[in-house]
Symmetry: D2
């Protein structure tokens, strides 16, 4: 059974059932030994979380492992609590309330593909119980306060004190309400929280933070004295930043700012930032300016990228930051996606320089993303054709064909063409001062390739 997608197990609770949570719990237990320590179980604010957590606990303990119940908390706080042991988080991140999901962690890091395959195999092979005198026990723990303290302490190493910096935070009735306002307040900010009550039905806004869903926050910031705004998703692994006018700051700009900062303060001889092919060249520019380099890895595979950089690197190589748009790993703090840390770090940076100054050196070129129809069974042939034709179309470009075809053009312009993993499309991403022209050229080449592959 293919349980795991790019973000763990996720789907409607008619599929992610208590029975499945029980089976996954037993599968996790089957791979481990009591000496690996207890498994920490957490959940986001969804109404279905408690039952799924109870079923997962039954699976783990009947499989012979001890459990620590951490209750409702952000996904990064569960990852934090899983250091030195394993963790199981019930969350569907920013999916709608009818969904739920399971994320697995080992020592702070999400299970890799190999571990996920083993879980899938074990779930398929049916229930696997320990002998009746080997079942584990369960205790309650409260890691949230320690997590908040750690984030606070970590953030104090960068930027400047928040000294009454006014920040508006829209928690979207998700788990961020238990962490971001508290951390920023402790850091000295004057925080105004929207939707910081926990409600797993997400009644106030869709859980995914976007320009479309953050209209309340946008108005609140635009009309009021807040220096900037922060929006989170349901389990606080995503962050969106709004400037003082209530406008969403482009996710790649945020990446560029944080990446530059981390490279800048790193004492490593070879500081590396890991990101994904669809991430803008502005990141590369800022990282290069600060004396570091960027490595790209396919979407949803940041950990794989981190591991690869380390393997290929020297003693001087240090991954200082790893991020997809909206999702940031701060390796010095911990190797999980952590938007609470992002909120704290960015706030400290803003307190030091102001958001405008931070953005100033980042070249925010126009960006577009389009989809070209292409039946699934023709994708391979189309991409093969494009491997040749796109470089021909842009002879001046540097070509990277690791994940789709990425062309880097002079002046930080670039385009990426790759097949969608789930839908009948070829995706075209482009960033350029004249993005429409660039997109049209690429789209034409792709459409011809689709036609030719018929």
């Amino acid at each position: 059974m293919d349980l795991f997608g790019t973000a763990g197990i996720r789907g409607p609770v008619t599929e992610v059932t208590p029975g499945l949570a029980l089976a996954v719990g037993q599968a996790v237990a089957a791979r481990l030994d009591p000496s690996d320590g207890p498994v920490v179980i957490g959940r986001d604010g969804r109404e279905t979380g408690a039952a799924l957590a109870g079923a997962a606990e039954a699976g783990l303990t009947s499989g012979g492992l001890d459990v620590r119940r951490a209750g409702q908390l952000p996904t990064p706080a569960l990852a934090f609590a899983s250091r030195g042991r394993h963790g199981l988080m019930l969350t569907a991140s920013h999916n709608p309330p009818e969904d739920n999901g399971i994320k697995l962690f080992a020592d702070g890091t999400e299970y890799d593909r190999a571990a996920e395959r083993e879980i899938e195999r074990l779930v398929d092979s049916g229930p696997d119980q320990a002998s009746h005198d080997q079942w584990g026990t369960s205790e309650e723990i409260e890691p949230l306060a320690a997590y908040r303290d750690s984030v606070t302490e970590y953030a104090q190493r960068v930027g400047a004190p928040l000294a009454d910096l006014r920040i508006a935070v829209d928690c979207g009735t998700g788990m961020a309400g238990l962490a971001t306002p508290q951390v920023l307040t402790t850091l000295g900010a004057d925080v105004r929280a929207l939707n910081a009550n926990v409600d797993g039905q997400f009644p106030a806004r869709e859980s995914k933070p976007t320009a479309e869903t953050l209209t309340d926050l946008s108005r609140f910031v635009a009309d009021g004295p807040a220096a900037f705004g922060i929006g989170h998703d349901g389990d606080a692994d995503r962050i969106v930043i709004l400037d003082g006018d209530g406008e969403v700051v482009h996710e790649d700009t945020i990446l560029a700012i944080v990446a530059e900062h981390y490279v800048d303060r790193s004492e490593a001889g070879d500081p590396v930032v890991v990101t994904t092919p669809n991430a803008s060249g502005r990141i590369d520019e800022r990282v290069a300016a600060a004396g570091g380099r960027v490595e790209r890895v396919r979407l949803g595979a940041l950990h794989e990228g981190i591991a690869r950089v380390r393997e290929a690197g020297t003693d001087e190589t240090t991954v200082v930051f790893a991020a997809e748009p909206w999702k940031h790993i701060h390796p010095e703090f911990g190797e999980w996606i952590d938007a609470v840390v992002s909120a704290a770090v960015l706030s400290r940076l803003v307190a030091e320089e102001g958001l405008d100054s931070l953005r100033d050196p980042v070249a925010e070129r126009p960006y577009r993303k389009v989809s070209v129809d292409c039946p699934d069974d023709r994708k391979a042939a189309v991409m093969e054709r494009l491997h040749g034709r796109l470089p021909e179309t842009f002879p001046e470009a540097t070509v990277d064909t690791d994940y789709g075809v990425r062309l880097d053009l002079p002046d930080g312009e670039w385009t990426l063409v790759r097949p969608s993993g789930t839908e009948p499309y070829i995706r075209v991403y482009a960033e350029s001062d004249d993005v429409d022209a660039l997109v049209e050229t690429v789209r034409g080449t792709v459409e011809r390739a689709v036609t030719d592959a018929e």
Copy 2:
């Protein structure tokens, strides 16, 4: 020792210490018997609440009573949980974070003055422990869900379904964040919550909800699509309503609306609304229009007023509502001040008629309140003089001298003159279409009385 003010025991935690909470716990226990049932302990979100609650618990159990720990919850939810037993709430309501306090409840109602005096006497008389084999035990309970369900169910009897009515609620990082958004959402509203995270330091705004402290909410409502706004204090016994323009609706107008509604739907032959002398004549007008009558009682003594009305009344007499400005008792639901119920009931009324239509029949005459200097030792002589002089000044007025001197003039105009209980002032309240003229006339009379009493 004078422990109790008009709102229970309240003050800085350098005075409301764990030692005092322990002593009050033992005093409560000394008046009761284990057969009176356990005492429910609750607290608001202040950081000092847990320690004070622990000390109170130690006092109660060492005094021989059992305890039920209800944790953080709104004061009205604690009152709800104290039905059929006693309750002890650690809260300083809307006071600043350096304060805390103790409110005592018996069967849902705050201790009356006689019971408070007995507690004071017992605290003065020193520690009073039960025999070592008679100490009580303590258990955790979670009454919050049942409270929210009850409020929801109660509110459904009035007005209309909230069908996506958009309501903005500013919880001020107080206890309302655990109840009002949830109740309104369950009732069908589209709720946007401000400061619904719990923070006992009240970092987002002062806890007392006023036009001055609710600026964020005001802007949020004025600029956005919310039909109206609700502001609460730290323990959710106060409510302030903002109209769709973000303007505070006068507290007496809210009282008039709710009072009229309760009289209107009452099937009693003699429906009575209890309020205080400083409350506007607009309440009397609406109550009279709906076929009921108003009785007044001194500030902070609504329960005394309710009791007096019942004693003096007939079988047909029913107290349908009792309220001071911002603080409402809904007797059919329970005899405690409950701003969560107010939020739910008002929302259902707004859903039915619209806030403007509700306000329309209420005559919102201009209102002013001024203070005239008067040394404490002259207050009695001044008031005695005014008992005679004010009626002389306004021969057309109906005079009531129960609590100060209140003069009701034609067309719903009125003035109230009473000595401040805590400061060297005579207070003058007045409401009139020409309020300045009325105030000046009264002020002159008062000032002369002060001079004459020299």
Copy 3:
């Protein structure tokens, strides 16, 4: 699927798995509505109990019901806590530690056969979840103290104060350790407890209390000053009494003593004791002497018997006691099997009269039970033959063929012949001053019937 045996669902945890507990939880939920109230979940001391309880909770809440978690407690305490709602107990009673099981209660009474059939049908029909926004919630409760108080109060209505009566109680590391010593101590006894630590592996003795397993208790009582001994099984629904010499008092004698007591103190015009066909005539004798009557019902069906007696009875009819050997229902206290109540009631009776005096009027005739080989497929034919032949062999007997063939002979002697429900035997029970002769006569008749049915 045939889940339920005579004592609910029970078996090794390789059969009574978390998956089954989850399915039973959802099945229970499918028959009920949230308005039926929450379901109380309890468990005995087995190590597998917590995981199964967690799975059952996941089933119930994902099925839309709320849950109250009562933790470890005796089965009768769970039944007590299920009054006015439903209850689910994880226990395999006195079975070995590798087993566990599920008992279901509605308002204090075990599910009847019809309800069990419906649960089986629902489990067979597969998972049945509520809509994602209808899943229930779960809270912890602690009903044990209230249960112990209720038992104490109830027992004080009978017999005499325990005034330092020394009683030895062997809790067998089961749930009785949480209730019987405490109740007896509160009643004034000087209790010495054996194996009152909770250990679900039953390391000190087999959980089933018998003369063979209670050797420690027997010695402890025989050699010491305890007036008598009490032995319990793993979940405290069984009780065995040892006299001052450490000898097990015959279970039917205990039944006769308690039954006589209840009939004696009943003010009903038609007091009835319900018992089973294998229970001794000495019960009938004592009940008759006290002015009551006995009704028998098949083993494991006391509730059915109680219901039948009530239906067939008049306004004067009251079931005052219902019991199988070792398992007693005290209807005035509650309609569940309750060995803690039995311990308390018997102790108060002993305190009043002494155990010897209580036994004195009970005719304790010799008793034997033998098994005659008989293939399953011949049982029906054999029993048919015996319906005729046994009465012929004992022409002086009163014959009852409701459950097997029971012959009541003069002087309280009796014999019962019935096919085993689970093994290839015909069971012969007999009680007589010359029990060997009686048994041999009956055995001969049965063996001939088996041979003839070939």
Copy 4:
């Protein structure tokens, strides 16, 4: 105020009140800083423990420290949980139920005299609260399972597996019921537990384990198959061993056995056993035989003795065991008195060699203790005289006058003369094959000194 006796704060709860617990909590907090970590609070089974623990928690948190609530557990388990932080235990050890007390721990070791004096001074100086925004928080923890696991693991390093060794344990309804039976069972023993239910009123026997109070255990062991018996006090810091005949093994013999074992297995060049002046010479004999040495320190001051030995010693010096009669410190496991460890270690030694073989090499000479009347004001003069006269009376003796006058005679005989700290007596201890003669000689010398000092 002199709060602390030789065993911490202890007395009737009319003196050890919630008010005192609150004050001690604040005093502990006043000496520490939040960075010293949270304070773990535990309590024994007394009914007054929960209230006192609540008051102590209020004191600690209002003093600015965080708290971890460990609930009911043995004193050694609380000491275990206080490693790396501080601990506060509510217990009056084996005192009657009307008493309670407070023991303070820093990193596993009881507060020394200097720390106690500081607490006394701080309690005297009155309440001392932290600023309202610095009060600590409190969480529940469950250290009992980890403690049992650690003890089990530690004991497995010595002796032999318990392979069904039958051991009777009388827990005296104290805290041992939560640890000793479980640990011994996990180690493989066949444990029979007496009074393993927790009851803070100690209804089954006095809490102090002595030959007089352990009559039930004695009979149980004498008449049954148990290899030996173990008796504990209320908080499991004391242990008494009964042999297979149910006779108490002399406490010094137990000390000698364990001391010899620890010296024997030590790899240190200078293994030292610390004990008290009233402890028998048989200890010295066995320690010497194993190649170690004994150091003595006044009663109640084992930690002082340990520290002194370490200071005075070399790199080769290791304190391998420290004990007063019935109270044992196992330094390799932890520096607190721990009778659960003693139970486990002794059981493993018995499993290896048998109790008789262990006792065999220990010379169990007759022992007597007598008291000679001596007014308090004459004690100093009497002891001064005896410093000279006793050595004269026994010219062959080695003399030690550190704590009273101790004379070691040839063949392991010895006598100790010291003034009682609390009563008008001079105590004489003696051990000798002809103990009566030795006692009479010493008594004569003492009486003469008393007369002469008149």
